[in-house]
């Protein structure tokens, strides 16, 4: 469970001070599915970085399961990321020289999983996203949708509590977008993950039960009643 209290993030750009986040309060329960939307430069990615422990707030608390990520040492924060949080990026962020299976394995390296188990788990994760036949393929040998599936397998292979996705369909065409969203929704439902996604796509945003809109660093939460 996430609890954000008065999270502020300021940084300077030249002589100007930018308020990327301005007193954000937000609670995200375990197993929630939250979509974050907003204009470019509004603070969406900054909020995702706070939730993922990739950056620290200027002030405020980012509490995950009772631990304030803002106060953790870099080493502990790295451990939290490696154990609890899975990331899916817009540009897939696969290592171009590693095969699909090896890319998925990179998420298990910091956990100290033995080589054999690592390979088995990576292969299983790829099978779960429909890429059982593509284990030895390099990213350059796969389509955008397939690459994003590899990235999803990499995020989920360590069985995290939280899945953070930064515009996961931003680089995909409409057909691929639906395909990837289906994969993500299915995994969310099956695994009971807390799934937080940043998107520009209004079609996706409209379907979200909880929608956080962020403009000029301020967050507005919209909750739809369950159908």
């Amino acid at each position: 469970m996430y609890e954000l209290r008065g999270v502020t993030k300021r940084y300077t750009r030249g002589k100007e001070t930018v308020h990327a986040l301005d007193g954000v309060d937000l609670t995200i329960a375990d197993g929630d599915r939250l979509v974050i939307q907003g204009p470019t430069g509004g603070g969406k990615s900054t909020l995702l970085q706070m939730l993922g422990g990739l950056d620290r707030p200027t002030s405020g608390e980012v509490v995950l399961d009772g631990t304030d990520l803002a106060r953790l040492s870099e080493t502990r924060l790295t451990t939290v990321r490696s154990e609890n949080i899975g990331f899916v990026f817009q540009s897939f962020n696969l290592i171009p020289t590693l095969t699909a299976q090896e890319n998925v394995e990179t998420a298990l390296v910091p956990l100290g999983v033995k080589v054999r188990e690592r390979r088995e788990r990576a292969a299983e994760a790829l099978r779960s996203v429909g890429l059982g036949e593509r284990l030895g393929h390099l990213p350059s040998e796969m389509s955008g949708g397939q690459q994003q599936r590899v990235a999803i397998a990499r995020a989920l292979v360590k069985q995290p509590k939280v899945l953070l996705a930064d515009e996961p369909t931003g680089n995909l065409d409409e057909g691929m977008r639906d395909e990837i969203m289906d994969v993500l929704d299915t995994l969310w439902k099956e695994r009971g993950l807390t799934f937080i996604m940043v998107t520009h796509d209004s079609a996706i945003a409209r379907k979200a039960p909880r929608l956080a809109t962020i403009r000029k660093g301020r967050l507005t939460l919209t909750e739809k009643a369950a159908p």
Partner: protein
């Protein structure tokens, strides 16, 4: 994962890896070639010095040459007028101590007694001038009646039969050669040690007064001498027991005789011209030199280092080039290669910001990412090292195969009048001074030692580490949030 990732990255970035490795290889190859050529120069110089000194000699002790010889000391040759019709060959030898004043043989013991002296042996260097040939009387031809034989150049007086001397004359050959009197009881020191006996044998320690000689191979060839031949010096016949070939350069003398024989020939009983000294510790040569100069007055002590300073010519020039220009060039290329390797590695990390940011976001610790970068740089460094060693060895091999000839001019300092041999008496000691006026040709080699290869490997590792430090430092400072950068 470390090695898989490393292998794949190096394969993907093989052009960049090759640039880094080539830069390092060039620097390392230069270091190997310059070091080995310098070592070859050193060996060439040692050879030159050995040809003067012999093996194991650290310094020589001499007495400075006397001022110009007075006319009374000039060599004189006397030939008898022979009877009419006697055209037999006449010859006259002059045996002179070469160039320097002599030292009493007791000085050898005095020098031996000095602290730090392992051994000392005396030698006598001589120059022999042999004039040999025939003298034929002319025939007096009388004008008119009667005839009378006259002496050479004789003229009839008034009233005597008129005529003129026809025919007659002299045909003399002048032969100059050097003789070195060696202490046969101490075969390990002295100039003969720089030659190898290629035929026959060397002196036995018991042959102190024996009439035996060892001939230098070049002289033996010129005079058609071989083991068993006889050479006559000042009327004394010596049997050639061996032929010696100088290891490099010129031999110390044309003929080697037992010291006592040489002293007798030169009327220099118990005299030596040079004392060859071996120190107990090669690092204390200067101390021993000072001790001898202080305790044995009136002598000049010349060390190998003093002698090396007087070597000039292309060997000296090349040696200076190798030690100055070569060394600095190697350092400059190495520093440049290290910098380029470091900057390229750092630039490569910058291009992989999102990749490393992603790994950090996945939970890779900074240390693991840095190790990966350093590992790649190290492999580049080692590749450069292997390439550099191969290039360096090839370069050194090429130098040795071509063996360019360098000239070493020995001495050339202020020369005295010299002896009859006409050589300037430079600052050299012993028989080496005969070579002082000469130019020695020495073939340059470039021997590569294990130490040089070890240094090259060390440099390769250092290059890899420096490049890795640049890249690793950059990688360690990357933030995991960089993984979210949308533009690479």
């Amino acid at each position: 994962m470390f090695f898989t990732y490393l292998r794949r990255e190096l394969r993907r970035r093989r052009k960049a890896a090759l640039v880094v490795a080539s830069g390092l290889a060039l620097g390392i190859a230069l270091v190997i070639v310059v070091t080995s050529v310098s070592s070859g120069m050193g060996k060439a110089q040692d050879k030159v010095l050995q040809s003067l000194y012999g093996l194991g000699t650290d310094m020589t002790v001499t007495k400075a040459a006397a001022p110009a010889a007075s006319s009374s000391e000039r060599p004189r040759f006397q030939f008898d007028a022979r009877e009419d019709g006697d055209d037999s060959e006449q010859s006259s030898d002059r045996v002179m101590v070469q160039g320097f004043q002599t030292l009493a043989a007791s000085t050898v013991a005095k020098v031996s007694a000095q602290k730090g002296v392992q051994g000392a042996v005396g030698g006598l260097s001589l120059q022999v001038l042999k004039v040999s040939g025939q003298f034929t009387r002319g025939q007096f031809q009388q004008d008119g009646t009667g005839g009378q034989q006259g002496g050479p150049g004789g003229n009839g007086g008034s009233g005597a039969p008129q005529g003129e001397v026809q025919g007659g004359g002299a045909n003399f050959d002048v032969n100059s050669y050097s003789v070195y009197g060696t202490d046969v009881t101490e075969p390990a020191l002295g100039p003969l040690t720089s030659s190898k006996i290629t035929s026959g044998r060397t002196f036995r320690t018991t042959e102190t007064a024996a009439r035996v000689a060892v001939a230098d191979s070049a002289y033996a060839k010129e005079k058609k001498l071989k083991v068993g031949s006889t050479v006559t010096v000042k009327g004394v016949k010596y049997t050639v027991i061996g032929v010696a070939t100088a290891d490099s350069g010129d031999a110390a003398a044309n003929l080697y005789l037992p010291l006592k024989q040489a002293q007798t020939l030169a009327d220099a009983a118990d005299k030596v011209t040079t004392i060859y000294v071996q120190a107990t510790d090669s690092k204390k040569i200067d101390t021993v030199k000072s001790a001898i100069q202080k305790n044995v007055s009136g002598t000049t002590v010349t060390t190998s280092a003093d002698l090396a300073d007087t070597v000039s010519g292309s060997l000296s020039t090349a040696s200076s080039l190798a030690t100055s220009v070569g060394r600095w060039l190697s350092i400059a290329v190495l520093v440049a290669a290290f910098l380029v390797a470091g900057l390229l590695t750092s630039a490569a990390v910058s291009r992989r910001v999102r990749e490393f940011g992603t790994l950090k976001a996945l939970g890779w610790k900074s240390g693991r990412v840095t190790r990966q970068v350093v590992g790649e740089a190290m492999v580049n460094g080692l590749l450069g090292g292997a390439l550099g060693i191969a290039l360096g060895l090839a370069g050194a091999y090429a130098v040795t195969a071509v063996s360019p000839t360098l000239q070493a001019q020995l001495g050339g300092g202020s020369g005295g009048d010299g002896g009859p041999g006409g050589g300037p008496g430079g600052g050299f000691a012993g028989p080496g001074r005969q070579a002082a006026a000469k130019t020695l040709d020495v073939a340059l080699t470039a021997p590569v030692s294990v130490t040089t290869v070890a240094v090259a490997v060390g440099l390769a590792v250092a290059g890899g580490l420096i490049a890795g430090a640049f890249g690793g430092w950059r990688a360690s400072r990357l933030r995991p949030a960089d993984a979210l950068r949308r533009v690479e």
